[in-house]
């Protein structure tokens, strides 16, 4: 096994550069190193000006998502040795505006996430003294998969619809809306449906399915969106057949 590998990293300084370019770095090739370790090596030993986001190093915080050899990946969970003999290209997540080097602006996602109301909605809040909202393990199982989302945004980088139409609500936000819709304690399904059944919501999705393929937490956002479409269609038929029946 060679003892070094080349990293080809996107560099962009908004104050100086017109557009991003690449810079190559030689880093030690260690079997136990993930791409994030290699980037941290560059930052510590070679070029302290390289900027990137990271935090937990264990696939929980969702900060270190980047394009590794063109694929959206959590760099803390992607071994450098998988890309032997190199070079390994490391680019910022696709479809987001680049702020600097490998850092992208995710404020668009954060706004969309708030819009879909990913929290428990109750028609009438129970008083604290009345106790908690109970739930069986089976009921918790129905949404567990969707609750695994860590907002790493790999799904947005994989979604060509979001790339072509930034107004599209996108996979993670819809999957998180579905997480609350399928929660037995929630009563906000109709409220969310009004927001998500608009053109830029679920109907923007053309079911490419790549969001599910790249998701490191097996959330299956593509599945969530299709289930949502089915619910929206059923609601529409219901309102057509029973216009007098309020939701």
């Amino acid at each position: 096994m060679a003892d070094r590998i080349t990293l080809k990293v996107t560099r962009y300084d908004p104050g100086r550069d017109h557009e991003p370019g690449f810079q190559t770095y030689e880093v030690p090739l260690r079997k136990d190193w993930v791409v994030l370790d290699a980037l941290n090596y560059v930052k510590d030993k070679v070029d302290g000006s390289l900027s990137f986001r990271w935090s937990c190093r264990m696939g929980i915080c969702g900060s270190c998502g980047m394009m590794v050899n063109g694929e959206p990946k959590l760099t803390c969970a992607t071994f450098v040795s998988e890309y032997m003999p190199g070079p390994v290209s490391v680019e910022p997540l696709k479809h987001f505006p680049i702020l600097r080097d490998l850092i992208v602006d995710i404020s668009d996602f954060l706004e969309k996430l708030t819009k879909v109301k990913p929290w428990l909605i109750r028609e009438e809040e129970r008083r604290v003294v009345d106790g908690e909202y109970l739930q069986t393990p089976e009921q918790a199982d129905t949404f567990r998969q969707f609750s695994m989302c860590i907002n790493c945004l790999l799904c947005y980088a994989a979604c060509p619809v979001y790339g072509l139409d930034p107004l599209f609500t996108g996979p993670a936000a819809i999957a998180l809306a579905q997480r609350y819709n399928t929660d037995s304690r929630d009563q906000g399904t109709n409220e969310r449906l009004d927001i998500l059944s608009q053109h830029d919501g679920i109907w923007g999705c053309t079911f490419v399915g790549d969001c599910t393929r790249v998701c490191p937490k097996h959330v299956d956002p593509a599945g969530a969106i299709q289930q949502y479409k089915l619910t929206a269609a059923k609601e529409w038929i219901k309102s057509l057949l029973m216009p007098w029946g309020g939701r």
Binding site: Y12, P14, G15, D17, E19, P20, G70, K94, H95, P97, I98, L99, D105, E138, D141, T142, P160, G163, L164, T206, F207, V208, G209, D210, R213, D220, A222, G223, Q226, Q227, K229, L230
Partner: protein, 135 residues
């Protein structure tokens, strides 16, 4: 969009290439699936043409059959058949994604949702084959 300010820094928004769908097999497969609808529309038109020829009488139907024997139409129909099968298979395989069915709290396996689609396809094809070939 507003220009950069002290609190809204300048960003670079990369453009998506017109040929984005050529970069990855899953994207290309998606585009082919979308494209297959054109060939499905062609089969629908062809069926309408056949029904219309049947209505006009045997002579017209023979004429239509002659027309369909042209190499270019045989090629078009072979290509259409490929795309219709591709459309059907990908559609059936995606069906479990849209249906989250749980029985006694446990999710039903994907196979149980996909298999009835294939069985219905097989049964209808067999019925059509029987209708056409019995004479």
């Amino acid at each position: 969009m507003a220009g950069p300010t002290e609190y809204l820094p300048k960003t670079f928004r990369p453009r998506v290439s017109t040929y984005w769908w050529l970069g990855r097999w899953s994207y290309l497969k998606f585009i082919l699936r979308e494209l297959s609808s054109i060939f499905i529309a062609w089969f629908v038109i062809l069926t309408l043409l056949q029904i219309s020829a049947l209505k006009r009488g045997p002579a017209d139907y023979v004429q239509l059959q002659e027309w369909l024997r042209r190499p270019i139409l045989v090629a078009l129909n072979a290509l259409s058949l490929f795309f219709v099968v591709f459309h059907t298979v990908t559609w059936f395989n995606l069906a479990p994604k849209a249906m989250s069915i749980r029985v006694r709290g446990k999710p039903v396996s994907n196979l149980l949702i996909t298999a009835p689609n294939y069985l219905a396809w097989l049964a209808i094809s067999a019925a059509v084959a029987w209708l056409l070939l019995r004479g």
